[in-house]
Amino acid sequence: MRIEEATILPNSVWKHRSVLDLDDFTREEVELVFHTADAMGEVLGREIKKVPTLRGKTVATLFYEASTRTRVSFELAAKSLGADISNIAAATSSVTKGETLIDTARTLQSLGIDLIIMRHSQSGAPYLVQDNVEIRLINAGDGWHAHPTQALLDLYTVMKHKGTVNGLKIAIIGDILHSRVARSDILGLSLMGASVFLCGPATMIPLTWRHSEPSAGGQNAARFRTVQRVEEALDQADVIMLLRQQMERQQAGLLPSIREYIHLYQLTLERLCLARPDAMVMHPGPVNEGVEIASNLSHCASSVIEEQVSNGVAIRMALLYLLLAGGKKD
């Protein structure tokens, strides 16, 4: 039998002090996250889902946008690694008294917090913190811009089912313009070699992507195509990623009605059959039953939506480990 040498990672593989986006991730780094998540998955499978790795470390969640599932996912991840975690909901904290984002981050840093997990409704907010405060960050979603941990867990879920992401046809359907999940997924999927097809209402595809030209990006310039009809996106797709439709968009005049969205883009059984028989159906959640996906389908055999949630904890544990364990204290 042959066993692989335990890889001691030279610093050249994992270069991140914070994870704000996937712009500068290499394939090796993404694979490292996956391998680490594998090990974390084993811990989560035990009766006592706890290891002492990050004992003595304190992380804080700083959520300016309400979110139960992502916050709890990070909380479980931190606790499984033995870290202490403090949750700060912006609405109840001194933020409402006018304390700025930078001040809040500085306060947390002086309180000895090792890492902040931040979600904010404005794109760019975590970069503002990173530019002004010496503290490690994980971006749990900023405005429309990025949601790197979601993209990593999505990629991981695909990887676990298909063995690879390279060469797969992925359809991303819905409100791409306003979706940080879509942006990060597109970057991550392109990096790992997938062929991405975007489809959604014209008012919800970014102007520069509507005619399927690749956009300017970081080192991982996105490679994808935009198609008009959902049937074309779904044809022989290996993976279907559905984006959440926010009801407010109709008010803003972007859609005539939800009914029309359903008519044109909802994943129905009939449409699902256009994809490959072993296609995976994914959704970042929470799912609007009867809108993005027909009511009976979200729990069908092809749906991996629940796996995404459990993979999310393992991926977040992996990131916390890679950011906080090892490395000289700085």
């Binding site: 066993i3 040498e5 335990a6 680490t36 003595g56 890679l322 090892g326």
Partner: protein, 179 residues
């Protein structure tokens, strides 16, 4: 740096056979025995011990592998990070006699971490330790129950174990480390 071979392939084979028999003798048989090899090189050694005993009639001793990365006590200060791998133990550890298997026993910290890991998985009846080489210089009160060879070393020296499964050959060498 010049290497000095302290165990040849034959030496190792003989030591492992002896260890296997000592373990069975001490445990009065092989019932409830589980070998748990510490990744990386403890794992193939654990498999070899189980196979040796299988040849001698004690078939099917379970073998697991253990990654201690998540239990290390130098997690914050190690300047290099270790890639974490899965711990896989095919049976419950409750009420079992766990024999940890590692290639070199040195400061004892890895073993301390391994014990914590095993105890997190359940309540074993006993935890024992088998090592191929004991090079001394303990920093914790840990001792091996079964030792292939005692090799006194200086702190400036390094003991390198090479195995067919991981390195393509079997040998144990001592190397003087450059300061």
């Amino acid at each position: 740096m010049p290497e000095k071979v302290i165990l040849t392939s034959d030496d190792m084979a003989r030591a492992l056979v002896r260890l296997a028999h000592e373990i069975v003798e001490h445990n009065r048989g092989h019932k409830d025995l589980v070998f748990v090899g510490l990744l990386t090189r403890g794992a193939p050694l654990a498999h070899r011990l189980a196979k040796t005993l299988a040849i001698h009639g004690a078939a099917d001793i379970p073998v697991g592998t253990l990654d201690i990365s998540l239990y290390r006590d130098d997690v914050s200060t190690a300047s290099l990070q270790h890639q974490v791998r899965r711990t896989e133990i095919p049976v419950s550890v409750n009420e079992k006699n766990i024999v940890l298997v590692d290639d070199v026993l040195y400061t004892g910290r890895s073993i301390r971490a391994a014990m914590d890991a095993v105890i997190d998985l359940g309540r074993p009846r006993s935890i024992q330790l088998a090592v191929l080489v004991d090079r001394g210089h303990r920093e914790l009160p840990i001792r091996a129950d079964y030792v292939g060879k005692n090799v006194p070393t200086a702190l400036t020296e390094e003991v390198i174990v090479r195995l067919m499964e991981t390195d393509g050959k079997d040998e144990v060498v001592i190397v003087g480390k450059e300061d």
